[in-house]
Amino acid sequence: MADVMIMNEIEATASRLGIDLSQLDLDSIQLPPGEDFGIVSDDEDVYQEDNMDFDTGFGNIIVVDNLPVVPLEKFGKLEVVIRKIYSQIGVIKEDGLWMPLDPETKKTLGYCLIEYNTPQEAELAREKTHGYRLDKSHIFAVNMFDDFDRFMKVPDQWAPPEIVPYTPGENLQEWLTDEKARDQFVIRAGSDTEVLWNDARHLKPDPVYKRSYWTESFVQWSPLGTYLATVHRQGAAVWGGAATFNRLMRYAHPQVKQIDFSPGEKYLVTYSSHEPSNPRDANRVVMNIFDLRTGKVMRDFKGSADDFAIGGAGVVTGVSWPIFRWGGREDKYFARLGKNMISVYETETFSLVDKKSLKVENVLDFSWSPTDPIIALFVPELGGGNQPARVSLVQIPSKEELRQKNLFSVSDCKMYWQSNGDYLAVKVDRYTKTKKSTYTGFELFRIKERDIPIEVLELDNKNDKIIAFAWEPKGHRFAVIHGDSPRPDVSFYSMRTAHHTGRISKLATLKGKQANALFWSPTGRFIILAGLRGFNGQLEFFDVDELETMATTEHFMATDIEWDPTGRYVATAVTSVHEMENGFNIWSFNGKLLYRILKDHFFQFLWRPRPPSFLSPEKEEEIAKNLKKYSKKYEAEDQDVSMLLSEQDREKRRMLKDEWDKWVSEWKHLHEEEKLARQKLRDGEASDEEEEYEDKEVQVEEVLDISEEIVSSEYEQV
């Protein structure tokens, strides 16, 4: 290989040229543009692999084996049969069916080759007819022509696989051990994708890694923050590493549109949708479930988009992502909604639990408990109200119904799980008696208590529209925005009262807030009441423990709000849905603006998630109690930093000032030099300002006031 030079060869060349290698700065070597001296760049293997697909060009040919061996007389008949089977699937090219004859016996050889117009058709044909029973003794074995090379290479003798010695990988969670306990985030603006530290102390982001054209559509963190996924035409890729971002694994899936991680980061689901060859058909949907670490396809799902459209009872709402919803601890189950059923799969075997789907007539929606293998599902009203709507909780894998609640004259239902899976809130829109309008109530399930008691909650004014609902993460409170749009009210409720843990109590109602979205801090207690879109980015930072507003502010036109995983900082962003003001702001949890970055064509802002804490609740409590002791160290550091910062700032200003003064003195000098020339241009007129001013003393007398006073003079009288 020309591109690999042996080290001693390099040394020999270097000594011949009189170069001391130890002194040589390799980074200073620059190649002329367009010349790479045969050195292959790291990224180029990507291109080379892609090219392979196009070079061979036999992807549209399949080989059908196990055909009957027939003499010449029956050749025509067999050909008609084969043509009939295979032209159903796709268009066979002209002369695209070739069945060779044995030159001696003049009989067919028991196989044929079929060429389609597109590789997709060929792939489909292989899938559909592999194992097709023509009759008892002829079961088709269909393979892609391209695969034959591969099959031929399989050695006849089995050789034990070489065991590669284990090399420990990088610590993918290195970022968690940051000295300053900072958090990372990724932003995508223009063609650049950038990972940055949120250095709130220095009031600026600190770059980690930046790359242009890193992804072709979007990026996504894995749920525990270990990986960053990028999406490309050929498939998805995940990136991670100790200090920088290296590509860890690639997942081939042409034209992938959506990706989804399992919550435990074990699997990656990819999704793509393809235009059908027949325009009347629905789009073809392809989904793959990969093992995240090995990159192996664990299971694939293919079918028409109709099969995956959610909206059970004949309502085709299109495919809503994610199709597969994960449930149970350690990514044990995943489920999808089908027509009149919920298909629950287990990841041990990647097959249906009990080999059959959960049959639920007309099921419209379902959701997993975030912690337990429990599914909450909603079935709408049927038969014009004869059969009530219902919400039920089903345990997996036993498929036993834990609790069910029938609901009458329901128009719609939404389910909200609390993050620990302790509570489930079901927002129920019901028709009024006249059926002309709807009103809203809540059914609150206490999952962890015996028999799962249900409480019904209606708002004080039950005709209020519900604009938003949100559970306090890990807590027992929730917030609701209700009322009419320009100035709705915000109410806070708790699942407990002071004396009784089993009853709901209202904590407070804030009247007339300009808000339409709720963002709880991930640690609870603090919430942002945000007025996005129509409200131009009004933000109110609210402390629910004290029931007081900490700050009211605004990020004009803000479209997105995201808390950092520790609940210390908040990012608000204006993405490219607006033309102007693109960029993001970072706030402290109490609503103090820390810094502001503007970027045109701003698409995404995502905090890097953190895995859950390993600390036991007792330990956490202990830390909270002795916070003073722990925080001392950090406060001292903070002070140092702020001292340093102001010093640096002063230094920077001084530098700028000096630099400017240098310019000014140079200009003055040149200006002076050119003075005569300038005078000449002006026909000898004194050109510069100073000379024109003449000192002239002007006396201005101003009459301020005139008053007459009669002075009585004694003189006269004398």
């Binding site: 004009f556 000032k657 400017w660 241009l681 002006r682």
Partner: protein
């Protein structure tokens, strides 16, 4: 600081210019009549009637006797400042965009737009002392840059002409030969149309504003990029305080993109920046539309802004302004 609202134009303002003494303010607008005002109290002195198209730019001679205007009616005209009398008309084949008198007022540079197959051009005309001797002949014609040239001004000692326009590149030309001497770097320079260019009082440096939402400060001799001021809106107009180290940027969302959402969405503010530290100092609100023109009074104690809304706002600074510290 209560501004004086000067309503005299019926169409969007395009350019503002103070004379050297700072007592007169000339305004150009898309209506056809350049107007002169008292710079102190905003009283209208008169208009210069004769153009038959939008007037894009003007310049006044050092002794405040001559005014030159460039208009979309494909002419540039010389005027008697005092009487309003039309002295001479330069005719072109395409709209005249930028005009500027040289040091000594013996030459003027006039740029013309690309139009009906014609490319844009920079013309240098001799300005005769006596109007009767005035000719329409060009001393020099420079062609080259693609797209409209939005501003052209004379460099130090009339040795160079500095031009900038739609192609986002700032160029310095030799006035003797018409050769291109320098052009700004694509990497560090503006990314979108340069809309305005303003020289410093001594002509040693100049400020350019661009639709790429930034303004840049350049050395007029070497075309070295010295400073960049970043804002949130496209910049239509720039000005530099002759007194303090302040620059003012005006602009706003494009008039056609202004939606009915919120008046703040446009950000039609004149924004003040520290010239050295590049930090924002403050803003002056008021216009109900993008700012198209800005000018500082040569004494540095007042400035005026002209907007798409057809108003000129004349601001005399409060005493506080002169004590701003950042």
């Amino acid at each position: 600081m209560r501004p004086i609202l000067m309503k005299g134009h019926e169409r969007p303002l395009t350019f503002l210019k103070y004379n050297r003494d700072g007592d007169l303010l000339f305004s150009c607008a898309k209506d056809h009549d350049p107007t002169v005002w008292f710079a102190d109290n905003g009283e209208r002195l008169g208009t210069y009637r004769g153009h038959n198209g939008a007037v894009w730019c003007c310049d006044v001679s050092r002794d405040s006797t001559r005014l030159i205007t460039g208009s979309a009616d494909q002419t540039a005209k010389l005027w008697n400042v005092q009487t309003g009398q039309q002295l001479f008309t330069f005719k072109f084949e395409s709209p005249a965009r930028a005009v500027d008198f040289s040091v000594g007022d013996k030459h003027a540079v006039i740029t013309t737009d690309p139009f009906m197959g014609l490319t844009s051009a920079i013309h240098v005309k001799r300005i005769a002392r006596d109007v009767d001797e005035q000719t329409a002949e060009s001393v020099l014609t420079i062609q080259g840059p693609q797209g409209r040239i939005n501003r052209a001004v004379w460099g130090p000692l009339n040795k160079t002409i500095i031009s900038a326009g739609e192609d986002a590149i700032v160029r310095i030309w030799d006035t003797e030969t018409g050769n291109l001497l320098k052009e700004s770097d694509k990497e560090t320079g503006h990314k979108k149309t340069v809309t305005s260019l303003m020289k410093s009082a001594d002509g040693s440096h100049f400020l350019t504003g661009s639709l790429d939402k930034s303004a840049k400060l350049w050395d007029a001799r070497t075309l070295t990029l010295i400073k960049t001021y970043v804002t949130e809106r496209p910049v239509n107009a720039v000005a530099m305080s002759p007194l303090l180290d302040h620059v003012v940027l005006g602009g706003g969302q494009d008039a056609s993109a202004v939606t009915t959402t919120d008046h703040r969405a446009g950000k039609f503010e004149a924004k003040f920046y520290d010239k050295i530290l590049q930090g924002e100092i403050g803003g002056v609100k008021g216009h109900f539309g993008p700012i198209n023109a800005l000018a500082f009074n040569p004494d540095g104690r007042s400035f005026s802004s002209g907007g798409e809304d057809g108003y000129v706002r004349l601001h005399h600074f409060d005493p506080d302004y002169f004590n701003i510290k950042i």
